[in-house]
Each structure stands twice: as structure tokens, then as C-alpha cells.
């Protein structure tokens, strides 16, 4: 039977989306859209904007509501069947805690950021794409909170993500990343989030890590993770479109875009070190190492994208070769940092089991066996002798990425990498040449960063005089929410649940 004749997707889409905006007459366009020129990006013709997915608002709502129905059906089943008991091991939950504390607030920040960027662009195509993304990101924040709220009934450290977000020293890493983007202009914002972060780098978060969640029996995270990622393909193509659009509109845009790509590649890479550490250390059952994920998603897929952009005169982002050099080290160095500052974290840390160390040897080779395995074994020995190591001070953190200045020189894994930058008679510390360059390009911006350890030691953390008072101010209970995993209430509860003993009361927190 012949199908009813209807317009093709391209015509249908252009009828539904084009010519709906207008030139303002009561006020000049530059007054109505005051933010889309000051970054120096020149747009000759906004009508050249292409929406790769050609998704109308009508279809958008149709497919999004279907995604939600599927997601919540699975979450209901998960809760009714005590899905928390199916995870591989309770250590796994610490990856979920870090997600809730560090990543979920970014979803909400993205929601705000895209609402703002959408308002700022005078082209209707870009406005609609930003509006859809803004709604998606709100959905991501909400579905994550719904999924995690079930775990909050059984595990510690999940009771106060919003309180922690603005106060915990380690959460300033993701928070400052987004606030840097949100305080930039709209073109830089979309380049940083949709392109550098979502297109180039978040495949590393949502693909291997969420696949890892599936492998570790976490149906809740797997489900919202992949559901969110289905929106992500749209966000990624928005990122690629905005970059191509700027590059095609005017040659003067090329150096501006290149500088943003250099900056946001490095910032995104630094942030993702946390995800790599979740993959290598916090997944009891391992799917893929950070090194392998880096090779697939950056060295293969990311570089392919930059080859494609080379026809506009775009080169690979600065210091990408440093990131590749560090792929055998980053997660081991960062885990050692989290391990020692464990008294000021809303999650537990531990030394991995022998089997896991063997997996790391296999994946990371000699460097792991000569440098990191002996250190981990030493820490385990100390812990077993009743002398669990904590560094009960706070670290010096990078003025740009806010990660402790603990990484090593690109060519010497035994030497700490520190770069001191100066501006207006003040000195600041950076973790790398990448971060130092970012500082030097916008010193007026980065001298204003609030650096948590400095603020805390100045007494701005409720007057806390040491790390333990500081943790209290974070509403974290010592050795319940913080500290070593072995012997923690989470650990004891898990063992009891596994051996079918009567369920102990997991959560001592009044806050829900």
C-alpha cells in the first residue's frame, strides 16, 4: 500500500523552525542580544546555522517522554526488588557518591548555562538547540537524584550533596570548571561544554564508566546513565555545529576558537582524571582501564575529529601529547591523593585487593609495578598494623583546575610538577604547563578563584581550626561518611547483608 504523501524531513523541519523569529524594532538587536559579540566572534549570516538532527519540538517531547517512561519503569522495579543488593561490592558505592556529589550538580549547572546561552544568541537555530539542551540537563539532574535517593537509604555519605557542593574542597574541581564556563561569553560556553567536554571527552565518562556500572550490577546508574547519554549525542552535535559554524562564518574566528579548544581540552582532561580514578579504583569489577579508554576515545576518536577540523586551520589542542604521556599515571597519582586526604572526603578510600593490583599490572605494566604497587602495598601494611595513613592537612591546589598540585613532570614520574605564575605582584601555583597557560591568558579571571584550602585556613569554613572540624562543617561524620572503607559501617552492613543477617540500620543521618 502506498504511503500517504508527506513532506520530507528537511522541508518539514525548515517549515517548523525557520522564519519564526524577527528583527526587533522598538530596541536595536544589539541591545536585545548584548552578549553575542563581545567575545570577538563574527557572524555574517545566522541562517547558515545547520541543525544536524532536525528534531522539531514536537518530536523532541515525543521521544523524551518515551525515554522517561522507560527509565522510571526500570527504577521502580529496581527499588521494589532491593536492587542495591545486586551491586558487586559496597566499595562500588563510592563511585556513585562521587557522581552524586561531583557530577549531578554539573548537570544542573549545565541546565542554567544553556538557558543563559540560549537567551544570548540572536540566531533562532542556536537558541532552540540550547533550549532543548537546557531542558535535557535539568532532566539529567532530576533523574540522577531520583535514582540515587534509593541508595541513600542504605549507604552513608549521600545525605547532603547540595551542602557539600559549595563547601567541600575536592568538589571545587568540577564546580570551578563549570563556573569558569558559565562566566564566559555564550560562544565560549557552548564550545567548552558541548564541544570540548561533551563531544571530545564525555564519551570517556558515559561509555566505559556506565558500562562499568552495568558490569558491577548497578541497574539504576546504568539506566539513567545511558538514558542521559541518548541526549548527549544531540549535545555533542550541537557542539560540533557551533564550532564549524564559527569557523565557517569568518576567518578571524579561527584563532579565538583554537585558544578555546586549547583551554577547554586541558580543563576537561584534568576534570576527567576523577572519572579515570573511578574506573580504575572504584569499580570492583573492571571493564576497561583509563589508559585503554584514553586510547579509544581520545587517541582514536578524538584525534579523528581534529583531523576533520584541520581543513579550517584548526590543529590538535595544545598539550594533548602530555595528556597521552600521562595516561599510565594520572589515576594512580590521583587515587593516592584521595586516599591520604580521606578524612575530608564524603566517601571512603582503600587499598585495592591483590586481584585488582594484578589487573593494574597487566594494564599499566612496569611503571605500575615499580612505582605504584609498592606504595599501595606499603599503605596496606600500615593499615593492617593499625596505622592507616592520613594526611590531616589540606593540599595546595592548582589555581586553575583546583586539583591538588600532586601530579608529576610529563617526562619524570618521580618529580612533582609545579608551575608558579605571577600577576600583579601575587604568586599562584599551577599543576601543569596546561593550567599555567590558561592562567596566563586570563590572569584577571583566575586570580579571583576562591581556593578552598586557603579559605578554610583563613577561618571561612565555619571557623574550623583543623581538618576534623572542617569535616563536621561539611556535615560529614568521622569514619562513617569519611575515612577508610575497611571496617566502615558501609562495609559492615554489606557483609551482614551478604550473610543474610538481620539488616542493621544503615543511615545514622537525620537528613534525607
Amino acid at each position: 500500500m502506498a504511503k500517504a504523501k508527506r513532506l520530507g524531513l528537511k522541508e518539514r523541519y525548515s517549515l517548523m523552525t525557520r522564519g519564526l523569529d524577527w528583527e526587533t524594532t522598538y530596541q536595536p538587536m544589539d541591545e536585545v542580544f548584548p552578549y553575542d559579540k563581545y567575545e570577538g566572534i563574527k557572524i555574517i549570516d545566522w541562517d547558515k546555522w545547520e541543525d544536524p538532527f532536525r528534531l522539531t519540538m514536537e518530536s523532541y517531547w515525543k521521544y523524551q517522554s518515551e525515554k522517561e517512561r522507560k527509565l522510571y519503569a526500570i527504577l521502580d522495579a529496581f527499588q521494589q526488588n532491593n536492587g542495591q543488593l545486586n551491586i558487586s561490592d559496597a566499595r562500588y558505592m563510592n563511585a556513585v557518591k562521587l557522581w552524586l556529589q561531583g557530577i549531578t550538580p554539573l548537570e544542573y549547572a549545565a541546565h542554567r548555562g544553556f538557558a543563559h546561552a540560549g537567551r544570548a544568541f540572536r540566531g533562532a537555530g542556536a537558541r532552540v538547540a540550547c533550549q532543548m539542551q537546557s531542558i535535557d540537563e535539568l532532566r539529567h539532574a532530576q533523574t540522577q537524584l531520583h535514582a540515587f535517593s534509593h541508595y541513600n537509604k542504605f549507604f552513608n555519605g549521600m545525605h547532603g550533596f547540595a551542602h557539600l557542593r559549595d563547601r567541600a574542597w575536592y568538589l571545587s574541581i568540577p564546580k570551578s570548571f563549570f563556573e569558569d564556563a558559565m562566566s564566559a561569553g555564550p560562544f565560549e560556553f557552548v564550545t567548552s561544554i558541548s564541544f570540548a567536554f561533551e563531544y571530545v571527552l564525555t564519551n570517556l565518562l558515559f561509555m566505559p564508566f556506565v558500562s562499568g556500572a552495568a558490569y558491577n550490577g548497578d541497574m539504576a546508574t546504568t539506566t539513567f546513565g545511558f538514558s542521559a547519554q541518548s541526549d548527549e549525542s544531540r549535545h555533542m552535535t550541537l557542539g560540533l555545529e557551533v564550532v564549524k559554524f564559527m569557523l565557517e562564518q569568518h576567518e578571524d574566528n579561527v584563532p579565538i576558537v583554537q585558544a578555546w579548544l586549547d583551554k577547554w581540552f586541558w580543563r576537561g582532561y584534568r576534570l576527567l582524571g576523577l572519572v579515570g580514578t573511578m574506573m580504575d579504583y572504584m569499580l570492583p569489577k573492571k571493564v576497561m582501564s583509563w589508559k585503554e579508554a584514553w586510547e579509544i576515545y581520545w587517541e582514536e576518536n578524538g584525534i579523528a575529529l581534529f583531523h576533520d577540523l584541520s581543513r579550517y586551520g584548526i590543529r590538535l589542542p595544545k598539550y594533548h601529547e602530555v595528556a597521552t604521556k600521562e595516561k599510565t599515571r594520572v589515576t594512580h597519582e590521583l587515587w593516592a591523593t584521595l586516599y591520604q586526604y580521606g578524612n575530608a572526603l564524603g566517601l571512603h578510600t582503600w587499598v585495592p585487593e591483590d586481584e585488582e593490583l594484578d589487573w593494574m599490572s597487566e594494564k599499566y605494566g612496569d611503571l605500575f609495578d615499580t612505582m605504584y604497587r609498592p606504595r599501595l602495598l606499603f599503605l596496606r601494611e600500615q593499615e593492617q598494623a593499625g596505622n592507616r595513613y592520613f594526611n590531616n592537612r589540606l593540599p595546595m591546589v592548582c589555581q586553575v583546575c583546583q586539583i591538588p598540585v600532586f601530579y608529576t613532570e610529563p617526562d619524570d614520574p618521580q618529580k612533582q610538577c609545579v608551575r608558579i605564575v605571577e600577576w600583579a605582584d601575587t604568586k599562584h601555583h599551577c599543576c601543569s604547563d596546561g593550567c599555567a597557560d590558561i592562567f596566563n591568558r586570563e590572569p584577571e579571571k583566575f586570580v579571583q578563584s576562591l581556593i578552598p584550602p586557603q579559605q578554610i585556613y583563613r577561618g571561612d569554613a565555619g571557623g574550623a581550626r583543623d581538618i576534623f572540624e572542617y569535616a563536621e562543617w561539611l556535615h560529614l561524620k568521622k569514619d562513617i561518611d569519611t575515612g577508610e572503607y575497611n571496617g566502615s559501617p558501609d562495609h559492615q552492613n554489606w557483609e551482614a547483608w551478604q550473610s543474610q543477617q538481620p539488616t542493621p540500620q544503615a543511615n545514622s543521618d537525620e537528613a534525607a
Binding site: P52, F53, L55, S59, S211, S230, S233, M236, A304, H307
Partner: protein, 90 residues
């Protein structure tokens, strides 16, 4: 050799016919499975054809339904009613 483009789907019953159709229409495509997902890599260009998916599904299929089970992709996109193409321009 041309750089790979890729597309990834949730590894569920709904996505199965889409994955099969892609592998049939793109002889150079390789499917890589990991828990919960399937990633398909293909040198240079990959096409999803509506007709092939409909054959596998045994029902009408709107290419935009892919959004529901799509996880990620890499490459420039061109989409119409009959084909969804991912390609590098280099």
C-alpha cells in the same frame, strides 16, 4: 586509511534490529560489545538505512526513533527520511 566514525547503542532488544541493519549495510563496520552497550566503528562513513531497519523490525520505522537507544556517535551527521549518515569530511 580513513579515520573511524562510530555509533553506539544500548544493548537491548529494541536496538538489535538497528545494529543488524547497520552491519549489513556497512560491510566494513565492526561491532564491539561491552556490558550494556554496543559500539560500531567504521572507516570514513557509516549509513543507517530506514528500509533495512524496517525489514529487520518487521514494521515501519522512523529514523528519529534511534534517539531512544542511541548512546553516542562520532562524525558529521546528515539525516533525511531514508538515511542517517555519519562521515568525516577529510
Amino acid at each position: 586509511m580513513a579515520d573511524n566514525v562510530f555509533i553506539a547503542f544500548q544493548n537491548n532488544a529494541e536496538a538489535q534490529p538497528i545494529i543488524e541493519a547497520i552491519l549489513e549495510d556497512n560491510p566494513a563496520a565492526v561491532a564491539n560489545e561491552s556490558p550494556g552497550m554496543v559500539k560500531i566503528d567504521c572507516p570514513g562513513r557509516l549509513v543507517v538505512r530506514r528500509e533495512t531497519v524496517e525489514e529487520k523490525m518487521g514494521r515501519d520505522f522512523d529514523l528519529q526513533e534511534m534517539h531512544i537507544n542511541l548512546i553516542s556517535l562520532g562524525g558529521n551527521i546528515d539525516e533525511d527520511d531514508d538515511e542517517f549518515v555519519i562521515a568525516w569530511n577529510t
